[in-house]
């Protein structure tokens, strides 16, 4: 049993090495004022904001520093910079006086969901900074604070508010030339209640949004190594846990010999995690996604003073596993065969039905193909990990979550502790891509820590554990069929799919929503043991590949250029962004030029987030330019992408996400798969699960000319992942005549003569 450790409420240990070298551990205050913009520690230890609090979202200090609370974890999309930009636009403050910190989930719980009560399902404590509700709210936060500052100055000067202007953190009375800094009057302004809320200014008057791309606030902490990710949490008395979960998902521990491991240096305990143990809070859950996706897996963890001791001792634990039902799946091929066989049986779910799909038999030509995408791991660079301290009367968690409120509730549920006594600290996040959204990781961390109460336990998944214990992009097989009429255009589209883990977005496409008159999209679910979940653009990342490859096959059957075919198909689609994106990317990539055999261009277009409506979500079009040698070596030379998310607020952030998203999409299509052998997941590390590197990355050109100007500010994180794979596959077909109907593409024989 560990010794009891008390951690000061306002203090947190970080390495002083980050502040100039040396080995001594230094203590810095988590909400220290010297973290002027965004400190190495993103979370706060206190509910109250520094300075004068205008609302729970914003405060202004006597030193003019504006502190903005951000509910969105920083997972790489720049949310901790974007949210303050929204506030600054309306507040009319000096950008260099802006400071960001994470909104505490504990205050949200204690103060009647003060941060999340406007929650549009997942909009708070996760997701996008440009979520429309979030934009609206944060602009209003800035506008209201500005008007309260002006009202306070008007009172001070005894002049009408209308005569006061606000700019760069200074209030000016034009007629008299008097000025006040925001900090001079902030305390008084914070007490003022406005009779009428101000209306935020029209977008045409924006000076920051849509124009400026300031350096992200967290980069200074990244480049000197001081940013605290989950992996970097260091606490007084902290111990480390190394973890091994049942290699066959769903398996159990049959027997355990821990004697050898326990005798090894530094080892403090060997604990087990049992999914069947009773657990859970008996109160109504506030977890945004519920608990269904958060189950722990049977596991053994070695707890030691140092990580390497835990890791070595874990290898010395003799574990016999009861593999359970999953072991019946001997190979991935066997699972694919089961999915393909299931395509012929009646559907479990009909997702979309319009017109009469039976008319397919009356068409001129039928195009048909079976498409398969594999299990893939999100593979964030920071392996899963987390730290928890469980004591008799409180639970404290430091964690790299993708949804802080979800993680807070899962931690409470697993510990059984009254949520009022649960303190959740959101760290920086070293990539998430859907893996850290549900909180099975935080449940596991707490499940281990509660077996070793009194000391903070930092649990680390090895890379192999991360890859093999996934919540994967599902393995999906789909049979797509189209009946082409006399003009070569599809009159009927039938999409049958089978998978374990299902995201019903195949029909979320113009093709199924009116461009093709007769549509049937249905699904079959197979009870595979392999655990699936969300992965950058859930469902979409598979269906975009399948549908856009299939449309290319229809174009070929019709004898029409793939670009022209898509434009024709989309002719009556009431969202002009699609055609604009296609034309932009075709134009900029030099589409249509004659190329020698072995070189080809392919095109694809898809939308993430439309939810059945035109002018919604983000549409991305990609043209891939590839070369295939006769010996079958594929070289992707160039990827051109155009997009329509409506409008944008931060051009460089959009560019950065689009570049990265395209590269992510390329890796997904070329390289990624996790296989099954005797029920176990095979691939463990980057030697078996390759990721593109600098030298493998093609020229990536992002074009802004597809933007429709529609007033929606949709996101750029997930959408680029979809159309890259099919564009590359379609390019390969045009280069060498081989059709790519499954990924990873690296497994295909691309030789030609």
């Amino acid at each position: 049993m560990g010794t009891m450790t008390t951690i000061s409420r306002r203090q947190f240990i970080v390495s002083s090495a980050a502040f100039g070298g040396g080995m001594a551990l230094g203590v810095v205050s988590a909400d220290s004022a010297d973290a002027t913009f965004l400190g190495p520690v993103p979370w706060v230890e206190t509910d109250a904001l520094p300075g004068a609090e205008f609302t729970p979202w914003i405060s202004i200090g006597a030193d003019d520093i504006v502190t903005v609370r951000v509910a969105t974890p920083e997972i790489g999309n720049g949310a901790m910079t974007q949210t303050p930009m929204l506030v600054a636009e309306e507040l009319a403050c000096d950008w260099n006086k802006i400071r960001a910190e994470l909104a505490p989930t504990s205050r949200d719980y204690r103060e009647d969901s003060v941060y999340s009560k406007n929650d549009p399902i997942t909009g708070y404590f996760s997701g996008r900074s440009t979520n429309p509700e979030r934009m609206k709210l944060m602009l209003q936060v800035g506008a209201s604070a500005r008007e309260r500052l002006k009202a306070a100055a008007a009172g001070e000067w005894k002049v009408p508010v209308a005569e006061i202007s606000a700019k760069d953190s200074v209030l000016t009375h034009g007629a008299s030339g008097r000025t006040l800094r925001y900090g001079d009057i902030a305390a008084k302004a914070a007490t003022i209640k406005l009779q009428v809320e101000p209306t935020p200014k029209p977008q045409s008057e924006w000076v920051l949004l849509g124009k400026a791309s300031p350096a992200k606030l967290n980069i200074p902490q990244i480049v000197n190594g001081s940013a605290i990710y989950g992996m970097d949490v260091r606490l007084p008395g902290m111990v480390y846990a190394a973890l091994r979960q049942s290699p066959v998902h769903g398996g159990k521990v049959k027997s355990l010999d821990v004697e050898k491991a326990k005798a090894m240096p530094g080892v403090l305990a060997v604990v087990t995690v049992d999914p069947d143990e009773p657990r859970g809070l008996k109160i109504k859950s506030g977890a945004p996604f519920g608990y269904d996706e958060t189950h722990v897996r049977a596991a053994v963890a070695v707890i030691a003073e140092h990580y390497w001791q835990a890791r070595m001792a874990l290898d010395a634990v003799q574990i016999e596993w009861d593999d359970g039902a999953g072991a019946q799946w001997k190979t991935t091929d066997q699972m694919v065969a089961a999915l393909v066989a299931a395509l012929e049986r009646p559907a479990d779910k009909v997702e979309k039905q319009s017109g009469d799909a039976k008319l397919i038999d009356r068409q001129d030509k039928i195009v048909e193909g079976i498409y398969v995408t594999p299990f893939s791991d999100q593979a964030p660079m920071e392996p899963l990990n987390g730290t928890a301290l469980v004591t008799a009367d409180r639970v404290e968690v430091w964690h790299p979550a993708q949804q802080s409120k979800q993680a807070f509730w899962v931690a409470a549920d697993e510990s059984g502790m009254d949520p009022a006594k649960v303190y959740f600290h959101q760290t920086f996040v070293g990539g998430a891509f859907g893996r850290r959204i549900f909180g099975d990781d935080v449940r596991t961390v707490v499940a281990i820590a509660k077996k070793f109460p009194g000391r903070p336990v930092h649990t680390i998944w090895s890379r192999e554990e991360q890859t093999r214990q996934g919540k994967y992009r599902p393995l999906v097989a789909a049979k797509l069929r189209a009946g082409l009429d006399k003009t070569g255009m599809p009159a009927v589209f039938i999409a049958s799919q089978a998978s374990k883990g299902h995201f019903p977005v195949l029909a979320d496409s113009p093709y199924a929503l009116g461009c093709i008159p007769n549509v049937l999209v249905d699904a079959r679910l197979l009870p595979f043991h392999v655990i699936t979940g969300s992965y950058r653009g859930p469902g979409y990342n598979s269906y975009a590949f399948m549908v856009e490859t299939f449309i290319d096959e229809c174009a070929l059957a019709a004898g029409v250029d793939p670009l022209e075919y898509r434009l024709k198909l989309l002719a009556n689609w009431p969202d002009p962004g699609w055609a604009k994106v296609l034309r932009e990317v075709a134009d900029k990539s030099g589409w249509g030029k004659s190329l020698p055999k072995g070189i080809g261009q392919g095109i694809a277009i898809a939308n993430w987030g439309m939810h059945g409506k035109p002018e919604a979500g983000t549409t991305v079009g990609v043209v891939a330019t590839v070369e295939v040698t006769k010996s079958g070596i594929l070289k992707v030379h160039q990827l051109d992408a155009a997009f329509d998310c409506g409008r944008i607020v931060n051009p460089d952030a959009v560019l950065n996400l689009a570049q990265g998203g395209v590269i992510f999409g390329l890796n997904m299509a070329l390289n990624e798969e996790v296989n099954v052998e005797d029920g176990r997941m095979v691939e463990g590390n980057f030697d078996q699960y390759p990721i593109l590197r600098t030298g493998d990355t093609p020229q990536v050109n992002i074009h802004f000319g597809g933007l429709s100007g529609h007033d929606r500010f949709s996101e750029l994180g997930e959408p680029p992942a979809g159309p890259v794979g099919p564009a590359v596959g379609n390019a390969i077909f045009r280069a060498i005549g081989k059709r790519i109907r499954s990924t990873p593409i690296r497994k295909h024989d691309l030789t030609w003569a």
């Binding site: 090495a17 980050a18 070298g21 791309s213 190594g225 990580y307 590197r693 030298g695």
Partner: protein, 152 residues
């Protein structure tokens, strides 16, 4: 038996199992968490440090082999984030999640020291770290810009 080594110019004495990778010596025994764990098999480069000036993946270097060496980590790349690459990383908004960037910076800094004006090929060969966010185009551009800046 404690092992002696120099980290960012300071003498350190570490009492740990001789097989302990330098990565965990730095992160766990010395509390310097800027050097990241990504794979543990010298594949991803997130743990890159300089050993006597040479870029090295610290996850595969046991403490007993690191004894006596002079180690530079991201925390010691400069005293005040003034290394040209650190400044350009900020100016050019290079990182996304940032987790791999310590290693990326250490690999890039070593490259520029050895080859002040690297070609694309030099970058491909020497900065082959994995970035899941796909920041490669910006990493490349920032290295070229740093090289151009040093020529002025």
């Amino acid at each position: 038996m404690p092992y002696d080594l120099t980290v960012n110019g300071q003498h350190q004495s570490v009492d740990a199992d001789p097989s302990t990778p330098l990565l965990w010596v730095l992160r766990d025994h010395l509390g310097m968490t800027g050097t990241k764990y990504g794979c543990g098999i010298a594949q991803c480069g997130a743990c890159t440090v300089h050993i006597d000036g040479t870029p090295t993946r610290s996850c595969q270097l046991p403490l007993e082999s690191a004894a006596g060496a002079s180690v530079t980590t991201i925390e010691g790349l400069s005293q005040d984030s003034s290394h040209p690459l650190q400044r350009l990383w900020i100016e050019m908004n290079v990182p996304q999640c940032g987790y791999c960037q310590s290693g990326m910076l250490m690999a890039a800094a070593a490259l520029l020291k050895n080859i002040p004006n690297p070609t694309d090929q030099d970058i491909d060969t020497n900065v082959d770290n994995i970035c899941r966010c796909g920041t490669y185009p910006r990493v490349r551009a920032a290295i070229h810009k740093a090289a151009a800046g040093s020529e002025e």
